[in-house]
Subunit: 364 residues, 2 copies
């Protein structure tokens, strides 16, 4: 088992990464605190398998654990589903020391985490990510949220987990497209912080896509290490490096929104968004053609898209205007400056973005 520490003073926690470690969850939770009740919130797709296993492990360690199921998909990220979890938490008799345990992908972690952040003004929270995207990225860092009809993640909190328990054996049952989507966030971590990690992803692309557990565990631990350092330096995204994690997410989120969150997986949208960020950086002399070609090549090896699908540039531009990370109306872009380093830039005119989107395949 690889253990990565997220260093946040009194809110520090461990991310455990390994293959076949789900059985050990209960003992790990029992060691962490005095709470003896838990609510396991599982994505419907894995409730009968990993959700039940997590519950069984908790019960085996002497806890009383209930299981609540969350319908799969982004459509579950609502205040209404959160309210259902409050009901389940009350039914399960949770108190302030009890655990809410999320078993699933980013959506499950977001909704269960937001419930944990707000139930009784905050109860301890454990992440058991079962998608690669959640293991390398979403389960670490404490961002939890639900969506508003006018935008993703507009309602949320910072609520750090007490433990992240990432079992790469759960990725055996993950659809191939979801595996690729997770690898896009790993590429992002390499581009923003670690050229060596990026090179490793290139070397191991084939075994990663084949689902090799050892290779995947190395990627999960590597990405978590990068993200942990960023989060430790800027927990609440207050002017420090945390905003770097938005690399690829400006165009990425806007693309997802323009496609009504139905046409692309999150990681696919981020892959396209990273290509767009690279192009903007190129145009400013911050980034080289060779690095851009390497980025596009790596994304291609990982089966990720690098061009914009059939959606109008105007729709993407409309979604960009609602970007949550804007300040007084200006979007803040994260642009690569070399493999392993990025910078922030808010001097990007809409006309330039419009031309870029068209050149990347958006419809006029």
């Amino acid at each position: 088992v690889r253990r990565v520490r997220v260093d946040l003073g009194p809110r520090s926690y461990t991310v455990a990464v390994g293959a076949g470690i789900l059985d050990g969850l209960g003992a790990a939770v029992a060691r962490l605190g005095p709470g003896r009740r838990a609510l396991v919130v599982a994505d419907a797709a894995v409730a009968a398998t990993y959700g039940a296993a997590a519950r069984q492990s908790l019960e085996g360690a002497g806890l009383t654990a209930a299981l609540a199921t969350l319908p799969s998909g982004e459509a579950s990220k609502t205040l209404g589903e959160t309210a259902r979890l409050y009901d389940a938490a009350l039914d399960a008799g949770l108190d302030r020391r009890s655990w809410i345990v999320a078993v699933g992908g980013g959506v499950t972690g977001d909704v269960a985490g937001f419930a944990a952040a707000t139930f009784l003004r905050g109860v301890p929270f454990v992440q058991v990510p079962t998608t690669l995207l959640a293991q390398v990225d979403a389960s670490v860092g404490g961002k939890v949220a639900v969506d508003h009809p006018r935008g993703k993640n507009l309602i949320g909190a910072f609520h750090q987990p007490s433990l992240v328990w990432a079992d790469v054996a759960t990725l055996d049952t993950l659809p191939a497209g979801e595996l690729r989507s997770g690898l896009a966030e790993a590429v992002k971590h390499g581009v923003l912080a670690d050229a060596g990690y990026l090179a490793m992803l290139r070397r191991r692309a084939a075994v990663l896509l084949a689902g090799d557990r050892e290779a995947l565990a190395r990627v999960v631990a590597g990405s978590v290490r990068i993200k942990a350092a960023v989060v430790a330096a800027d927990e609440r995204e207050e002017g420090g490096p945390r905003s770097h994690l938005n690399l690829g997410h400006t165009v990425g989120h806007a693309l997802e929104a323009a496609l009504d969150f139905g046409g692309l997986r999150h990681g696919e949208a981020v892959a396209i968004g990273m290509v767009a960020a690279g192009r903007l950086a190129l145009g400013r002399g911050l980034w080289s053609e060779a690095w851009q070609a390497e980025l596009v090549d790596l994304l291609g090896r990982l089966g990720l898209p690098t061009a914009i699908p059939a959606v109008s540039a105007a729709r993407i531009m409309g979604a960009l205007k609602l970007d949550k990370k804007s300040r007084e109306g200006r979007v803040r872009w994260v642009l690569p400056v070399r493999p392993g380093a990025v910078t922030l830039c808010d001097a990007v005119e809409p006309a330039e973005v419009g031309r870029l989107l068209l050149s990347m395949g958006a419809l006029p």
Copy 2:
């Protein structure tokens, strides 16, 4: 203007107390941070007066301020009303640096504060309390929440304000019953932390009830000073003195719940709850008959009730079981040990509580 600092490291803030200071709100907010947009959330009862004045003051300081109205009363403490505030915040174009400004009593501060805690994962929050209860207690300390059908304040967060702006001139229009209700929390502060403050309340009871601004400002600043020290020592109620602030609230909340939150004002319920806590302390030899008589006398001078109205002991006991502050099913009581000091006790059997409630006037 009296200024009391709430010392919470990076989350420290000032509570300003004065008479006729509402006009200065905008300038104070503009000095605090870079945000240039604000959403004023005002209780419907004061929206046209203090809400409009707050908005005008913000606009006068160069901010763009919108006004949202919250219906008066506890029934507004819902996720649904919070969702209305998210809509208003989006309509007003708020970003992460923008302000949410609560103008009203505890309910307004709770709902607007919960919206501020969760909109865009948290935006800066300003409290402009216009009831004595909110000025002496609710506006300080960062507890924000909405209710769940099964209990008060079950959904919430800790979100410290950036500024509390308490204008005692707004109390001129406060109903007398609301003034008395606020004084109950001031008595609570004296009992748990400061015998001298308690003596001052006794001496000034008559002028306070007459609405004397200077006397009220002194009480607000005195209570805030006590609460600020408690909150600074135990921001998130994690085993430290913050739980002492629940003095009188165990029976108080249960009484309110048993009366469906319609029969008693919050402070009135807390007054009765303090008498009950005193009686439990007496029975344990922790507290004297003389101190209990003084407490009952002071509450009486302030026009506050000290006996339980016509509601059945069984209903109150039922509500006690759902107490949010319980641990694994045991209620934690705050009991006075002398004027200015309290202790925690969870060794109180339901049968003893039942007898106490009956002896204080509850119906069998």
